[in-house]
Symmetry: C2
Subunit: 241 residues, 2 copies
């Protein structure tokens, strides 16, 4: 099965959670909007998303095409891919648990984004800076510790002793934890220096994920887009005092 991933070509964003899963599994996939030529690129993605003939259109990227199936919403895509890529246990209760955590990641990601966009996604950060300056400390002092503390609690509660979020092996939720720690370190280095002391298991998990051969190769490749000021995790020093 060759998977087609559709996402913005210049940011990690929400698509990165899917890219990490495909890369870890060594899946055959094409990152459509980053390719050139016939049927490729952003125009192809927009056409597919907006065409009246598209049966299951997405509200926004990312979305995935797998044969005749088209799926949107990041966590939903991972819920679909998980068993196919061997990145989640097969039992229903465990799959729902993984998905529940991933949906909480999705909630967290919205809050990360809204630190620099508290008024509206259609305005530049520079046009909502006073509001961002007010929101940022509430995020770094209240919300980020709540979310990271919740994920740390899950790691601590997994009695397998292997240091993964669910069961005894690395899954897509673990890859998402890596991405969250990496993103938070980029966007809020000062806040994270403090927060990491309270989430030692998450930090260890992040480090172990970077050493997995497929992930290490991916992170060293050009396929891994660097963090930048267009994505979800953005570094503005004034929001991280």
């Amino acid at each position: 099965m060759r998977y087609e991933l559709y996402y913005w070509p210049t940011i990690q964003g929400r698509g990165e959670f899917i890219r990490l899963a495909l890369e870890e599994a060594g899946a055959d996939y094409v990152d459509v909007a980053r390719e050139h030529g016939r049927g490729m690129g952003v125009p192809a993605m927009m056409r597919l998303m907006e065409a009246a003939t598209t049966r299951h259109p997405s509200f926004a990227p990312p979305f995935l095409r797998a044969g005749r199936i088209m799926i949107g919403q990041t966590a939903n895509v991972l819920h679909f891919l998980g068993p196919r890529l061997g990145l989640v246990p097969k039992a229903e209760a465990q799959r729902l648990w993984a998905h529940q955590i991933q949906l909480t990641v999705a909630d967290f990601i919205i809050e990360v984004h809204d630190v620099h966009h508290p008024v509206g996604a259609s305005l530049y950060y520079e046009d909502q800076k006073p509001e961002s300056l007010r929101r940022a400390p509430i995020f770094t002092r209240e919300r980020a510790p709540q979310f990271l503390g919740y994920f740390e609690r899950i790691l601590r509660g997994n009695s397998s002793g292997k240091g993964f979020m669910i069961g005894r092996s690395a899954g897509y939720v673990d890859l998402s934890m890596f991405q969250i720690i990496a993103g938070m370190r980029y966007a809020f280095p000062n806040a994270m220096a403090r927060l990491e002391r309270k989430t030692p298991r998450l930090v260890e998990l992040h480090d172990r994920i970077t050493q997995r051969p497929n992930i290490a190769a991916y992170l060293a490749s050009k396929r891994r887009i660097p963090f930048n000021r267009h994505g979800i995790f953005r570094h503005y020093p004034e929001l991280d005092v």
Copy 2:
């Protein structure tokens, strides 16, 4: 199977999407935090959420207990309940499609909430009113039309001719559409008077849902908590000019 729903007892909030599904299906359920007595009430909910022995804790309510399974995240609960209550088609592609729409409802609900809480959930609305006054028109003029237009497009694209979101019968996604229209009418009556002209199918769907016997009985009962200024949909006239 007797389902136990855990959610705040004085608001519709996110729990309402689950209550509507349970009510439509005539399911045997207890709304734990709204009951009194041993093992009931908000303290019981908080204990279960925070106990170290809880294997699959939720970040926040709502969550559902079904025998030995405990599930959090509203859309995940509906994804689990859907086939059991006959409120979603059984084929995997259709279930994922329903879930994708429900996850877009979840995204919309966050934006509805953040109109009156753009800075932080820990502050009162009154303490973030200037920011809300700036966010509100962007929501009513840009985001709400985008989301409602997307849902209208899905209704229009369903060729069954029955006027439901998926297939030929009412499911949990249709109940969620009802709830969105009802909530938007309460919170933003002026904006909705304008928006409804562009979403005639959604309005029709809302009306038809209110006439379903189980839903009509529920809406007329005390189990339906009235909209108020503590929930997600809140009416502040200054945010709906």
